[in-house]
């Protein structure tokens, strides 16, 4: 939902940042790690946990996410069901855990599309310049002009409603920001002295691109990618909430909120729990992204 404005990835490549929480010094990698702020540790822990949920949901819950005990419907959170049960007596915690894989994979797909397609566009536009830059620049302008969530809705409508397509649509809506960043980075690097040197030494365009331009652009793109990963989770959840993802018994987080919405009056945990899970995961990703960003600019 939120992609047009970013905390990182200022196109000029010289973002100004709020002072970081940790007093940091250049030092060995190991010392830097030990000095990670607590919030960053927490964020990493959250993301590792969700990653573990996605890879091996069976380790964390034995309850079947798709089949419940109907007579235990709407059990409030308690010892037996930590997050309560839904309208068919299904364990909500189990559904959230089993929904992680789909939510995480979708966000990864979206970011991958953004990085690859957007990166390629930015690379070509920035390096080639001339009319290629002009044409691709207009395309990026157009993509930026359409509100990103609306763009995602249009694309998922054209592709058909399911979670994979929602992920692709989210990726398409993120292409422009990556293209813009990549182009700026390439322009910055291209004019630097060592590229001139490489060119004078007779390196081919492709070689220079891969050997010199790309590696220098990796860090800012990575930082943006992490941030976009969080935003992609939100966008995909929004699409699922509106019913553009897989239907139940799938348990994507956004879908869980949409399903629980009808029962907000008498079973509020069905909305609050998955909603907070989304918020916490996105918050963790954002924290991490901000951290990477400040490290980069040190």
């Amino acid at each position: 939902m939120t992609a047009a404005v970013l905390t990182t990835g200022d196109p000029s490549g010289s973002p100004e940042h709020a002072p970081a929480g940790a007093p940091a010094q250049a030092g060995s990698r190991l010392r830097g790690l030990r000095r990670l702020p607590l919030t960053v540790w927490l964020s990493i822990a959250v993301l590792l946990l969700v990653l573990a949920f996605s890879l091996a949901p069976g380790l964390f819950t034995s309850a079947d996410p798709a089949v419940g005990v109907p007579d235990r419907k709407f059990t409030p959170p308690g010892w037996q069901y930590l997050l309560g049960t839904d309208h068919l007596g299904r364990d909500l915690l189990s559904r959230i855990i089993h929904g992680s894989a789909s939510s995480m994979t979708s966000a990864l797909i979206a970011v991958a599309i953004g990085v690859l397609v957007g990166g390629a566009i930015g690379l070509v536009a920035g390096y080639a310049g001339g009319w290629a830059d002009a044409v691709l620049g207009r395309l990026v302008d157009v993509l930026l002009a359409i509100p990103s969530f609306l763009l995602a809705v249009v694309v998922v409508t054209a592709l058909g409603y399911d979670t994979r397509n929602a992920a692709i649509a989210t990726g398409v809506s993120a292409v422009a920001v990556f293209a813009r960043l990549m182009r700026a980075e390439v322009l910055r690097v291209r004019t630097s002295v060592f590229i001139e040197a490489a060119r004078l030494n007779g390196g081919s365009d492709a070689y220079i691109l891969i050997r010199h331009v790309l590696p220098n652009a990796v860090r800012p793109v990575l930082s943006l990618a992490v941030l976009q990963f969080g935003l992609a989770i939100l966008t995909i959840a929004g699409l699922a909430f509106l019913g553009y993802g897989d239907p139940p018994p799938a348990s994507d987080w956004g879908l869980l909120v949409a399903d629980g919405r009808e029962h907000l009056l008498h079973a509020p945990w069905l909305v609050i729990a998955p909603g907070l899970v989304i918020a916490i995961v996105v918050l963790s990703v954002s924290r991490l992204s901000r951290f990477i960003d400040t490290e980069r600019n040190r």
């Binding site: 939902m1 939120t2 047009a4 404005v5 905390t7 100004e16 940042h17 709020a18 002072p19 929480g21 919030t39 207009r138 395309l139 302008d141 157009v142 993509l143 930026l144 002009a145 359409i146 509100p147 990103s148 969530f149 609306l150 763009l151 809705v153 249009v154 694309v155 409508t157 054209a158 592709l159 969080g230 939100l234 959840a237 929004g238 909430f241 509106l242 553009y244 956004g254 909120v257 949409a258 919405r261 907000l264 009056l265 509020p268 909305v271 609050i272 909603g275 907070l276 989304i278 918020a279 916490i280 996105v282 918050l283 954002s286 924290r287 901000r290």
Partner: protein
């Protein structure tokens, strides 16, 4: 001259958005008209089917349809809805006031929240409390707005009876819908605002002014607020897109009959002309607002004129 060039660029972007959306939507298999025609109970003859399809222009190749559509759009004719047969312009037109009220209120709220966060960030310094305030924008940005909206309705409408659910266009209802939309948007403005304030605060002239015994409020207004306004106004233009995109979910949750709801309906009924018009309208609003900001900002701040022209 430069203004003219920028207007030209904006128009080009909107036109290209029109084409792009048309081509993407052309990929949708089927359309509501054909679905209706093929319904055996409707009992249309082949000739009648062909006639109706040609009325909607559905019998022509996509590119021809595109050219016709552009031609009509230039004459101000946005076509007719495939599902309700009403003119697209009136379908969209009727929905605009609702979304406008929502988005404008949300922008005001977002600015207010950003203002509070900005001042709080400066006054609380970099201690624990200040850190908390500085992390609020990230929290706001990370919270799904459907969660915010649902909780607001549950608490304020159902528990406290603070606003009307059945009449979502009332002031109270609009205020809460706007708040839902404003929270993530305010975060983006606040982030830029706080950064700008930080930069300004670090400058010497603030302290000089204070030590000279100027009235604090005036110092704040002249030395802190004004220099920080420029980046803030710029980011306001950018969040217009968020306001329009976010209205889709907000309007759904609050039951408002705005552009977002029109888009939702058009999506479920595959009503391409309506969807097309709504998306291009959003793009036009975004481009237009940012164009105006681009043109007006240099007038506000002479320092901006030179570098802008150079770029």
């Amino acid at each position: 001259m430069i203004a003219l060039k920028r207007v030209g660029q904006a128009v080009l972007v909107i036109a290209l958005a029109y084409v792009l959306v048309f081509l993407v939507l052309a990929a949708i298999p089927g359309d509501p008209v054909s679905a209706q025609l093929e319904n055996p109970q409707a009992g249309y003859s082949e000739a009648e089917k062909a006639q109706i399809r040609s009325f909607y222009g559905l019998d022509k190749p996509v590119l021809v349809q595109l050219l016709i559509s552009i031609g009509n759009a230039l004459r101000g004719d946005l076509g007719i809805s495939l599902s309700t047969s009403a003119p697209v312009s009136s379908t969209i037109g009727e929905a605009i006031p609702s979304t406008l009220a929502l988005a404008a209120t949300a922008l005001v709220f977002a600015l207010l929240i950003a203002l509070i966060l900005g001042f709080a960030s400066q006054s609380l310094g970099e201690g624990r409390l200040g850190g908390l305030v500085r992390s609020l924008p990230t929290v706001f940005l990370s919270t799904p707005n459907f969660l915010i909206g649902l909780v607001l309705i549950q608490v304020f409408a159902v528990q406290l009876g603070a606003f009307s659910i059945i009449d979502p266009e009332t002031a109270g209802s609009t205020a809460f819908a706007a708040l839902t939309l404003a929270i993530p948007v305010s975060a983006q403005i606040a982030q830029v605002f706080i950064t700008a304030l930080d930069t300004t605060t670090a400058l010497d002239h603030t302290e000089v002014a204070l030590s000279r015994g100027l009235a604090p409020v005036r110092v704040f207004a002249r030395h802190l607020l004004r220099p920080s306004l420029l980046p803030t106004v710029t980011v306001c233009g950018l969040v217009v897109g968020e306001l329009l995109g976010g209205s889709l979910i907000t309007e759904t949750i609050f039951g408002r009959a705005g552009i977002g709801t029109v888009v939702q309906k058009a999506v479920t009924s595959q009503d391409v002309p309506v969807l097309q018009a709504a998306v291009v309208l959003s793009a036009a609003v975004f481009v237009g607002v940012n164009l105006v900001i681009d043109l007006v900002l240099p007038l506000l701040d002479p320092r901006l004129r030179a570098p802008r022209e150079a770029s």
